[in-house]
Symmetry: C5
Subunit: 258 residues, 5 copies
């Protein structure tokens, strides 16, 4: 689970709920028609902008991105180095019994064991990388469009409420509550856009580049194993995929060793 997203989402919604509940009953903040017009209206309008498969795919990619944790690239590197050692000493078939968690790496090692050639492995794994990047791109676009549309639907809901209230304004005492209801859609729209849709779009964009980088690292590792490269060279090559910060820690040592 992505910790920053979990903490941030729970924290932000918790703070807003606290603000609502300390101010009295929270019931005045729940209005089913208002929820319908903002949530339903926004999703309908976003659906017009995309195809059905892009639209529903976006939710799946978001859920998957937050439930599955990104693998630690350093552990992956040491696993690839270990595999590279095994392959050199015992041959490709020895890799068959290794337990591998990373999907891309597992698929690549299976292809190594099956004796596929270089071009085929590269093509299949790159297709998989491209799909991941694509999926996250479409996900980010759908959530970003949601963040644009939600405040507009909130405003449309408030305008409808205001017109209804103003056109039937006989009891001045009823103005307050009616106006409160009218403002709810603007509140819902602002919350949906700023606390949910736009942050998720930004996180998916970040996730796209991180997942892409890890998958690219695995592909390079698998191809290096096939070429029978020296495990130390494999290691230093894969470290180029690490964050500059983490790379430097290892880098200083190797520089001193040089």
């Amino acid at each position: 689970m992505d910790l920053a997203t979990l903490l941030g989402m729970v924290g932000a919604i918790g703070i807003v709920l606290a603000a609502i509940l300390t101010g009295g009953s929270g019931l005045v903040f729940v209005n089913v028609p208002s929820i319908l017009i903002v949530l339903g209206g926004t999703f309908m309008v976003v659906m017009i902008k995309f195809s059905l498969s892009h639209f529903f795919g976006a939710f799946k990619v978001a859920a998957r991105a937050f439930i599955f944790k990104l693998e630690n690239p350093e552990e992956l590197i040491s696993q690839i180095v270990k595999l590279s050692n095994m392959a050199r000493k015992e041959g490709m078939l020895a890799l068959e019994n290794e337990e591998i968690d990373n999907e891309t790496l597992q698929q690549g090692v299976q292809m190594l064991v099956d004796g596929n050639d270089h071009g085929v492995i590269q093509a299949v794994l790159h297709k998989d990388l491209q799909q991941t990047v694509d999926r996250h791109s479409w996900g980010a676009k759908v959530f970003s469009a949601t963040g644009d549309v939600a405040p507009a639907m909130g405003m449309i809901g408030t305008l409808i409420g205001l017109v209804q209230m103003l056109s039937a304004m006989d009891d001045p005492k009823a103005i307050g509550p009616a106006m409160a209801v009218a403002l709810l859609t603007t509140l819902y729209g602002a919350m949906l856009a700023n606390m949910v849709a736009l942050p998720i779009a930004d996180k998916l964009t970040l996730r796209k580049s991180e997942e892409g980088r890890i998958k690219a690292m695995c592909i390079d590792g698998v191809l290096a194993i096939q070429e029978g490269q020296n495990p130390r060279i494999v290691e230093s090559m894969l470290k180029a995929y690490l964050d500059p910060k983490k790379r430097a820690e290892g880098g200083d040592e190797s520089a001193e060793a040089a």
Copy 2:
């Protein structure tokens, strides 16, 4: 018919209508002068920004895009492969009796049957591709401009209503209904922009790239048939035009077969 557009448009308008009707009579939301100022004013201003032919062409291209469904690229590929087989075995003239739905493919096959040479076929079909892309671009630009202008005309209408109301404010009881009418143009402008014009502009942009991709695939197919290419090579070449997702399904098989 484009399903996402149909569902989204009907759903969004349905939700707004439900919100209006559950709040009392919907009649207060209908005001002919307000409709005139937003709808008419927006179209007039958008007309200034374009030429008459671009302006009216935009509606035609939008209507056409939503009524005619995009062809399934996989069916097209198998039809092209079939035609390629026929052409190799029985010659170009055998293609004459094939029933072809796709316009570009049909035009291309007719030109093959007529014995036109490579350059002529390529030139004519590319012109047609360029026109399609162009038409969708202008359509998207006109609807995007509509989405910019409509809220502005809504605000102008509301300001006119407010000035009229305020300058003749003798009966405080009349303020409510007059203000309701003044707000209607803002509501109309927000709805025209956010629920109609901008989503259609985005869908036309998406449609432009999808239709362009299918037409480009058909052109490549026709030219490959003329060159007498091996149908299996034709198939794998055309699959590069498919979505990465769909391509991978086929791709894995061919990789396993390799």
Copy 3:
């Protein structure tokens, strides 16, 4: 006269006037100090952003663009083809008596008759093309800046009106009319920006590319005549400047003829 601009401008202003007049006396919408602050203030601020010659040049280029109609590129092509025929059969001097409406073409033909060489003709005509593009660019920039500044001046005017009204608020009955007057500058600013300045900026940008294309076509034609090119080749070369739509109509015929 540019028909879309004429229709759109008259229509938009007519619709707004109708909305004003059907709501009662239009006199409350006329307030000389408000007009002065929005129109005068906007022009003064825009003047700061440019030089005097760019500023006044913008009005001239806008007026010229709307009064003079764009020439029909197809008629120009047939005239150039005719001139090309004459030049081949009777020599350059025969072109002297031809009546030519298009300025660029006329200037170019005059230079042909005078026996100028290729480089000189190209240089002089390209300078003229560059000037036209430049003039329209500056025009579009000035009107676009006007569209940015006008709503700001409208808001400044409204704020001044509100401060005056609120600081002297002794008679509650006077609030309505005073507020109406204060809102007028916002209305004027929104109208000046959205119904006049921004549409004209967009039209000048469109016009820039269209006039540039016609002038470039004439230059190519004049140079081709000088080179004594075959009139049929001249025609097909110039048709590349036509809209894809119109080009295709001619293109299909030539393809069938091929």
Copy 4:
């Protein structure tokens, strides 16, 4: 003095003052704490965004740009041509007694007289050109940031005023004047941004390209004099720096002469 800036600034402020004074006493528009919060607050925040030297340099460059007039490029060209003639006939030392107003040209001619070589002259003059462009760029950035910050500080001031007014709302009669004062900061912010900061930023950007062009022309002229080029060639080379409009006037003549 830059005429468009002077006219525009005086005119815009004059129009606003007229609108204020015709509406009654102008004293309600002067509120020292409000001026402090908008002017002082904006400058403080802009200072955070830049270094002290960029911040104060911006005012100097703005003042200098508006006080010193741009030289007439045509007069400069004829002076350079004259110098070029003198240098060819009487040698470099003859240039010493020429009175030259343009700084860059004067510095360049002095270096010619001193017998510096080509590379040194080019390096020193280009450094000076780069500094001018840089200075105007930083100036434009500071004023553009001021135009962003001022409306925000105006809004902050108005919110402070509203909170103070609303939290102590016992006398309904005091609401009007208190609200008027609260709105003053929004008015100041809008005026500072739209009538002063943003127009000056735009003018400095324009000025940057114009001064840069004139300096580049002078550098080319000085280097051409050193190379002992034919004065007629020097002239036609420098005319490429003129506005297309002015260039064409001269250009047509030379074309006719060709």
Copy 5:
């Protein structure tokens, strides 16, 4: 300490505090739930957009940037020139006892003393440069996102307050203070965004390029010392990193000397 940031921050907050305190008791401006919803909510939402390490790293980089002063590049140049002289006369080991404040320079000189070769020194120091640039980039992104989110959270807080106030509107006298509290979150959001987050983001972007330039200069200096370059050449080479303004002062002298 960065003087412009210190002065600007203290000045801007001082001006706002003065405006608050001169208007009566400042206590009405302190509301703990409002502070919680804006500050806490904004940080939670920003956290969703980034990873935890980016988020917390941003505060560290901002604190560090404002506490440590940028070194004077001219002093650094003279120190590097001095080191270069020593290295030529007394050998690399003589550099060991020099006191060096700049971290990059110190690290580089230590590596020179240790006798590392050119490639290793370059790699290690460039890694360090890349990390600094990266750290500032992420810092600027986090603060820029804070500047986007804070006004949105302020609006959400105000909407919650308005809904609570309007839905329980029985005592008209209580409206004023309740509305004042509701507006506080908008005020906090505007202040957090415009007076803190956005200016810091801009300053970090500026700092990124300045620190990067100084580090790059040190790296060039260290490498030049290793190559045993002439100290005068080292000096003129490093001066290319100075601001054009400062460079010119030195540049004129060297030009005169040439």
